[in-house]
Amino acid sequence: MDARSLEESIRKDIENAANDQALEEARIKYLGRRGLVTSLLKNIKDAPPAERPKLGATSNRLKKLAESLIEEKLTVLRAAQPASRFYTPPHDATLPAHDGLTGHRHVLSKVFGEIKDIFVGMGYTLASGPQVELEYYNFQALNFPDEHPSRDEQDTFYITDDMLLRTHTSPVQVRYMEEHKPPLKIIAAGRVFRNESIDPSHAAEFHQVEGLYVDTDVALADLKKDVEIFIQQLFGSKTQVRFRPSFFPFTEPSAEVDMTCFVCRGSGCSVCGKTGWIEIMGSGMVHPNVFRAVGYDPDIYSGFAFGMGVDRVAMIKYGIDDIRLFLGNDLRFLSQF
């Protein structure tokens, strides 16, 4: 067979191979051990020396041609075959399979989850207490004297003379200390209530996380370290933290905690009121009167406490400008998180 007819025959046989088996037969026919192309190559050495280069070139070309045609045909055959006997191609595979109804955690749960994970990693245990609380735990035990103006900052919903809706999560501190001995390191979280008129930055119901660490010789320096670690974990390691003196009845010394504005990174913008700082939590060393109320000796034990609004943290973190969105439960809002 001359080279030309051999080439034609190769092309025809491969082209006509209807399945893997026919293709394999064609391969054996040309490229098998006794295949036509293989024999051609074997016979080169028997040809006159003058013809050998030409014959060699032709044989090699045919070999490469056969190989590449087989490869191509194989791809074509594979594509035409069903991938699985359990599969029938649909009419249109581009149709959506899901109606878009996906589940999302509420953004407050999400933020609280992050906060909790950070604190658990730092050795804080989760504690809880009732939302309908005794006035004693909400105020007196926390060193809010009766008829003291410090109570004005926490407008209260009353249930009875001595029962109220807790205005902060701090009563959990007192309840926990009453039942446990130091060392203790807890966070408490949950719903709190203030009888305030509602606007984009004020809600009658919001959420707090509260932390408490009591042991012998816990210092303001420890508070600063823990809070700084927490804030840098939550908002990024470049965030700077500042403590400025403030007043809370149940802590002393007390500090308001500011962090560098996440928008302008401290240079001053409209989000932080041009100060470069954003108020993020209140904190301080547990007041001796609180220890006395739970029967701890303030000369033996010291401790710190801090608290922050989960709603506020979420607002800062996600640029949410209206606190009412949280309990509004508009799914167009919720499904963004």
Binding site: L95, P96, T102, G103, H104, R105, H106, G113, K116, M122, G123, Y124, L126, Q131, V132, E133, E147, P149, S150, D152, E153, F157, Y158, I159, T160, M163, L165, L184, K185, R191, F193, S197, I198, A204, A219, L220, A221, D222, K224, K225, I229, R242, P245, S246, F247, E252, P253, S254, M285, H287, P288, P298, S302, L327, G328, N329, D330, L331, R332, L334
Partner: protein
């Protein structure tokens, strides 16, 4: 609290610029919320001198002036003010000037005469209320120089957030003391004239209760002329947010803003019997106060009374009748100290809040009374004329100076900073606390009368810390932890439930704990169910806060309705929250049950191509609940059973502990109330009870060594027999070799007797010890079939 820097400078030197001062004060605990720049900075407002003033040729009421507004620069200006006269130095707005009231000055013709500017009045420049005439500047001034500075000196006002423990900072003097401490400076106290002049008093002061009123200083001033205040005084007050009234009232406010002592000025003539009584109000006593309102008093209210009736509410507000008016010439200045709680209770019972009550309820320095009265008297004489008269100082409860000790060791322990005794003493002295005793370990200081917040050692430690600088504490400190923690088990359980549900396509919602109570009519909760009597809130904000919720369902329906309004109609939501349950007449804290509520809703009609069904049905929510239980390995049948009321669509799941889940479809009655036009299925889960079931100790059961044998049965249940009954009988009679069973088909219709149901049930048998023989299983099946027939009338389908 608004403080003016120029006012502060009367008491203390300020060695830095405003920006630094703001930072330093903030870091000292006096949070500066904003800085307000004040001053009248108007281009083209200059000092001019009226050279000539003559009547306008075409108008009787206008004056044609020649005004020199710069050396040699003389202009014609038409002026309408009656008080303009030659020789006056006046503020002139030249063409091009823009005034604070929006007026732009242009060259113009007034009644045919050219006018090249305007001579200004107070109201036009916004520096006072006087609109009757132009401002005439006192003294001589450089012509053409800016007039704004003369009329309203530039000033910076700081708005400082004052915490409730620091009443002393509600005055310029108090803030000046902090600045002095900050920059190691001295406070310059005001120099006053002879304070102890001893005229025989022409009045007396009776204090009924020395606790209610620790001190009452009355000081007389005679022969005053009540008039508007001079500009500097009204401007100063305005800068710190106080409206000018008249010279006498303004002086008392001025002294309050300066020294922190609230004062009141009585028209002495109106005090009948020349007697001041400090006593509690009689029930039913009435008074018309300075705010124009009539108050009915009660015994909580402390009053100032003359020999007939109340003339003022002590520490709160003066009475209208005894107030200083334009006719007043004889004055009695009150500078007193009333008890914080008494003032607070009184003003709360009356619903008033004033600058005076604000200070008294936080605590005012009783040592300041006399000085403040005297300062006011001197100022009144200076501004309103008159002469200082007699003073009565009734001081039944004098301030007793006490000292507090602070330990070096405790300071270090609390702060974590290596401060020494000399450091501590030095810092406290900067605050004006005199060291009365000192050892290697302890410093004792005397607490001044103006610092009621300093009670015990920790208060001093705070003072040390904030002056030392919070930012210097704990530098290079290491994280310290003496506890170990992991997430709490119940919390992790709830977290697991939440994650399961979100993966199943449920959105978490968080709703209000309040309810308006409208669900009470429509949710047919059984009699005696605690959900029927929600706990009322005593002082609700509005009708939505009337009660605490007893169920999460109403709130969820509200959420569903709102979302449908927004066009979101396919809803799968869940909420984990507290419900509040208590018997009526609350005597102890209510039960707060952690509840999970699921709700699913779909509009009628197919609205997604891939869903074959368009209507939600019971099994949709049942599946969710059973998957949830299944994921915690809680077995239906053995651990919990369920009851389904076919007529109403209600169902419950219960265990030995009681009801775990309660749910159903929203009834038409409820749907109407919430304006819902599509089916809603819901289920509420008692999480605490489920937690008990779902977290039992588990041990591995060995995997089976021997094969299972399957048998399929086709059973026909007669009318009225439920699948659960058949299953129970099957399980009971098949014995322990039955490993599991599953319904693979349910059929009603042709070839089946009417009202009967055919169930295809696959039984799985297995032994842990051996391979089961067919005959063995055949025997079991025969027994089961005969028992089913006998007990329930269930036939094998032929």
């Amino acid at each position: 609290m608004l403080v003016s820097l120029s006012w502060l400078k009367k008491y203390v030197h300020i060695p830095t610029d405003t920006e630094q001062l703001t930072k330093d004060l903030t870091m000292l605990g006096l949070n500066v919320e904003q800085c307000i720049e004040r001053g009248l900075d108007i281009d083209e407002l200059v000092v001019g001198r009226v050279l000539e003033a003559k009547r306008h040729p075409n108008a009787d009421r206008l004056t044609l002036c020649r005004v020199e507004v710069g050396p040699g620069d003389v202009r014609d200006i038409v002026c309408g003010a009656p008080n303009v006269a030659a020789g006056q130095f006046v503020p002139v707005a030249l063409p091009g000037a823009s005034l604070p009231n929006g007026m732009k000055i242009k060259r113009s013709k007034i009644r045919g005469v050219e006018s090249n500017g305007m001579i200004c009045s107070e109201i036009e420049l916004g520096v006072g209320e006087d609109a009757a005439g132009i401002i005439v500047l006192d003294g001589e001034h450089e012509l053409g120089s800016p007039a704004g500075k003369l009329l309203m000196p530039p000033d910076t006002v700081l708005e400082i957030e004052v915490t409730p423990n620091r009443p002393d900072l509600l005055s310029h003097l108090g803030v000046a003391r902090e600045i002095a401490a900050l920059y190691k400076l001295d406070v310059k106290l005001p120099r006053l004239g002879d304070i102890a002049r001893a005229d025989a008093p022409d009045f007396r002061i009776d204090i009924a209760d020395a606790t209610d009123c620790a001190r009452y200083v009355g000081k007389r001033v005679s022969g005053v002329r009540v008039a508007p205040s001079p500009t500097w005084l009204s401007q100063r007050l305005e800068a710190v947010g106080v409206q000018s009234v008249n010279n006498v009232v303004d002086v008392s406010n001025y002294v309050m803003m300066e020294l922190g002592q609230p004062l009141h000025a009585f028209d002495f003539v109106k005090i009948r019997g020349a007697t001041i009584q400090v006593r509690r109000a009689e029930p039913g006593e009435r008074i018309k106060a300075l705010d124009g309102k009539a108050y009915e008093l009660n015994k909580e209210v402390l009053v100032i009374a003359d020999e007939r009736e109340s003339v003022a509410l002590a520490g709160i507000i003066g009475g209208e009748e005894s107030a200083v008016s334009e006719e007043t010439t004889e004055i009695l200045i009150e500078s007193a100290n009333f008890h914080p709680t008494v003032v607070r209770k009184g003003r709360k019972s009356l619903g008033v809040d004033t600058e005076a009550s604000y200070r008294f309820e936080r605590g005012v320095d009783r040592e300041m009374c006399h000085l403040a009265a005297h300062m006011a008297a001197e100022m009144i004489c200076e501004i309103a004329g008159g002469e200082i008269g007699a003073v009565v100082d009734n001081y039944p409860t004098p301030y007793e100076a006490k000292s507090i000790a602070i330990r070096e060791s405790n300071t270090r322990r609390i702060l974590g900073s290596p401060l020494t005794t000399p450091d501590i003493a030095g810092l406290l002295e900067r605050f004006g606390l005199a060291v009365v005793n000192r050892s290697d370990e302890v410093v004792s200081v005397e607490v001044p009368s103006y610092r009621p917040d300093l009670v015990e050692e920790i208060d001093l430690i705070e003072e040390v810390a904030r002056l030392y600088g919070y930012d210097r504490i704990g530098r290079g400190w290491n994280f310290r932890c003496t506890t170990f923690a992991r997430a709490e088990a119940f919390d992790q359980f709830v977290e697991g439930v939440s994650n399961h549900l979100t993966a199943r396509g449920f959105n978490e919602v968080i709703a209000s704990a309040f309810t308006d109570g409208r669900e009470l009519e429509d949710f047919e909760w059984p009699k005696g169910d605690l959900r029927r009597c929600p706990i009322p809130v005593r002082n609700p904000l509005n009708v939505n806060h009337k009660y605490l919720r007893t169920s999460l369902v109403p709130g969820m329906l509200e959420i569903i309705r709102r979302n449908i309004d927004h066009g979101v109609k396919r809803l799968r939501i869940y909420q984990v929250g507290k419900v509040f349950l208590a018997p009526e007449g609350l005597t102890q804290l209510p039960e707060e049950e952690s509840t999970l509520t699921l709700a699913m809703s779909l509009p009628g009609g197919t609205d997604f191509w891939y869903d074959s069904r368009s209507e939600l049905e019971l099994f949709d929510i049942k599946r969710e609940l059973e998957m949830l239980f299944g994921s915690f390995r809680v077995e239906l049948g053995s651990d919990i059973c369920y009851d389904f009321d076919g007529a109403t669509g209600r169902f419950t799941y219960s265990s030995k502990e009681g009801t775990l889940v309660e749910g159903g479809i929203v009834t038409d009655r409820v749907a109407r109330r919430y304006d819902l036009d599509q089916p809603v299925w819901h289920a509420s889960v008692d999480l605490a009870k489920c937690y008990e079931l779902c977290t039992r100790q588990e041990r591995l059961e060995a995997l089976p060594d021997y094969p299972a044998s399957k048998r399929d049965l086709s059973l026909v249940g007669p009318k009225g027999v439920t699948y659960r009954e058949i299953e129970k009988a099957l399980v009971r009679h098949a014995g322990r070799l039955l490993e599991s069973l599953v319904v693979f088909d349910v059929y009603r219709g042709e070839n089946i007797p009417e009202e009967c149901t055919a169930y295809g049930v696959r039984l799985n048998f297995r032994s842990a010890e051996r391979t089961l023989r067919d005959e063995e299983i055949d025997r079991i099946i025969d027994k089961v079939i005969s028992k089913l027939k006998n007990e329930l009338g269930v036939e094998l389908r032929s």
